[in-house]
Amino acid sequence: MTSTRIDRRRLLGTGLAVAGLPLLGARRALAQEGGNIRMMWWGGDERARRTNSAIDRFTAAHPEVSVEAESMGWDDYWARLATQVAGGNAPDFIQMDYRYMFEYARRGAIRPLDEFLGEELKISDFGDVNLDSCSVDGKLYGGNVGVNSFSVIFDSAAWQEAGVEAPSFGTTWDGFAEKCAAFTEGNVSSRVHATADGSVQEGLFEVWLRTRGKALYAPDGTLGYDAEDAGAWFAYWAEMRKAGSCVPADVQALYKNSPETAPLVSGRSVTDFAYSNQFASYQLLVPKELSVVGAPVLDGGEPGQYLKPSQMFSISSTSDEPEIAARMINFLIREPEGAKLLGLDRGVPASPEIREAIIPDLDETGRKVVELISNLSPQIGALPPAPPQGAGEINAVQIRIAQEVAFEAVSPEDGGARLVDEAAAILERA
């Protein structure tokens, strides 16, 4: 077997269009051969410290390998990654997001990892669910770095003070609304509301749809719900708003998909919604102790939640050293030495063995997240169909229309119709 290396210099000569390269078939004969790889992820300084120390451990154990690490915040990450990929200089080792994975995989920018399974990548104990959730069209495109689920976060002391039992596993949608109304009754401050406005949260909308037997997207890539479903969703939150149960429109509009802008953190609500791997970020910014449970359920409905990778490690299709990158992925997500250093920062490890190994080192906040994932089991359903191209844009449309409903520019019913129309137009264009 000869190694087929891409001559990057020559590729560059072709200028812009280097991205859609044919995938390289041939594998290197000696997997233990050394080399240099570039790794890129998004995250703050805490994540950088953890990841860098894990990289150091990896290169200490494999002196023939050197790793160049780059990290930046989410907001800057995708423009930079796209520029490098389009500019013919993609990093070998790429941290991927669930939705972007489909965009990159379908366009051939990241490579399937199936050939490494059982060799460099020993992740069969992740279970089918955690492998499928990192697959596109039947091929594995990423190593699951952390299991994640949508969750409800709240300040339990505040609920107690209001004399209402806080939301818990198995609270129904109606029950949640009742609890919030009761909270409002027992509440003295006009500044604080029972909950954030969840209508803009795609993750929560998805759970709600799934409890009703629907989904965001159908298996054929069309929309998985109709105008009536969306209208009912907006109406649920319009009621909450009217009752004073959730924060008013202009407070929720401060939320920019980041913890520091959330109503819970700004002290305007005692309950909020987020993915479970963000729980620690919320706790850091709030002086009171927070609790976390699953999203509401529907009486007699379907299980609404599913386990999703918070992020995954992928390999560029133009990487010269995919074996080394694969070995490093394995080290970070499947070997206790590496995984322990990463901790829970990227979500709960998918491997039961790794999970056991890191539990003793966890703090109180971390333990709550691990508990959440185990307690969620009854609410976990099948993986949803893959999001089609254009899903990211539809998410933005949902946020905009939810705001239009909240600011009473359109009725919930019309908002539902509008969402379905615009989403259909986007899917048709993509």
Binding site: L16, A17, D75, A109, A253, L254, S258, E260, Q389
Partner: protein, 315 residues
């Protein structure tokens, strides 16, 4: 210094005669291109190529990750026929330009005039007025602006002392754009410095002479300050207009990249950025960019056409 002294006498210095005109013209041409050379090299080697590539891409379907595909004028057609977001972005941007440019410049000029006089502690004031501009496009701005303009922010606590309950300015679609205008005006440091430098070039003795003639200060402003400052004012108008059309970072950091709430801060370039990097439509984004170039060019050309009525050069 002797040459200068000779000239100080006034405008009566003799003009050079025109003999050997052709030779001089050739001579001048050569010198001109020699001085222009750095820019010409930069333009042809660094600027032009990428610009032409983006022009080509504007006629393609280019998703960043696979090869561009030629689609003719389709992107341009879509923009004007089937893109509601394009219309929203144009509207937001025009409002922003129309408000932020005059306000910022008026503020900058007023402060520059106050600072351009004999006062103690002037450097300190100048420095403090420039401070906000130093913050530039820091991510911290997003947090600071929320502290000022959220429902329980600083502005509303000031309003509360006079009994007014203000809305959450920054997150209300009716007002959010205006908080970005305020941000732009708040960072008035650059045009202020340019105005100051311009005021420095106006000879003090002109004011003295006018004072002796009994001209009112308003008259002095209209007859001396404005005409002599007009090249600088013109510069600031043109530059600030271009910059306002291209404004990106304020909306990007304050709206978290969304242009929200409800597209109320969807600046044109923010929309372009979303198309390019969030939705993988670099071809369409390039078309948007070239339409913006045309819009700005029209505004700029118009400003240049007006110069003969109000901009006074010494030459």
């Amino acid at each position: 210094m002797s040459a200068y002294d000779a000239i100080e006498g006034g405008k009566s210095a003799a003009r050079p005669e025109t003999s050997g005109w052709l030779a001089r013209a050739i001579h001048r041409n050569g010198a001109g291109y020699l001085f222009l050379a750095p820019w010409l090299i930069g333009f042809f080697c660094l600027t032009l190529g990428p610009a032409l590539v983006s022009l080509y891409l504007s006629f393609t379907d280019f998703d960043l990750l696979t090869s561009p595909e030629f689609v003719g004028a389709q992107n341009y057609v879509r923009m004007v026929t089937a893109d509601a977001k394009f219309a929203a972005a144009i509207r937001v941007t025009l409002v922003y330009v129309a408000l932020s440019v005059p306000l910022k410049l008026a503020f900058a000029l007023a402060i520059a005039m106050v600072l351009n006089r004999g006062m103690r502690a002037l450097p300190a004031y100048r420095a403090i007025f420039y401070l906000p501009s130093l913050l530039g496009t820091s991510v911290a701005i997003a947090v600071l602006w929320r502290q000022l303009f959220a429902a329980d922010g600083f502005v509303n606590s000031l309003l509360a002392t006079v009994g007014i309950e203000g809305p959450s300015w920054i997150s209300n679609p009716n007002y959010s754009l205006y908080t970005l205008v305020v941000l732009s005006v708040w960072q008035f440091g650059s045009p202020m410095i340019i105005f100051l430098a311009g005021l420095r070039q106006i000879p003090a003795d002109m004011y003295e002479a006018a004072s002796l003639d009994g001209a009112s200060s308003r008259r002095q402003f209209l007859r001396i300050t404005l005409p002599l400052l007009s090249p600088v004012i013109f510069f600031n108008v043109v530059i600030q207009t271009i910059e306002a059309f291209k404004a990106f970072t304020p909306a990007f950091i304050i709206s978290g990249g969304s242009g929200g709430p409800i597209n109320s801060t969807l600046f044109y370039t923010l929309y372009l950025y979303q198309e390019a990097f969030s939705y993988f439509r670099m071809g369409y984004a390039s078309a948007l960019a070239w339409v913006l170039v045309i819009i700005i060019a029209i505004f700029t050309a118009f400003s240049f056409l007006t110069t003969k009525y109000w901009v006074h050069y010494d030459d």
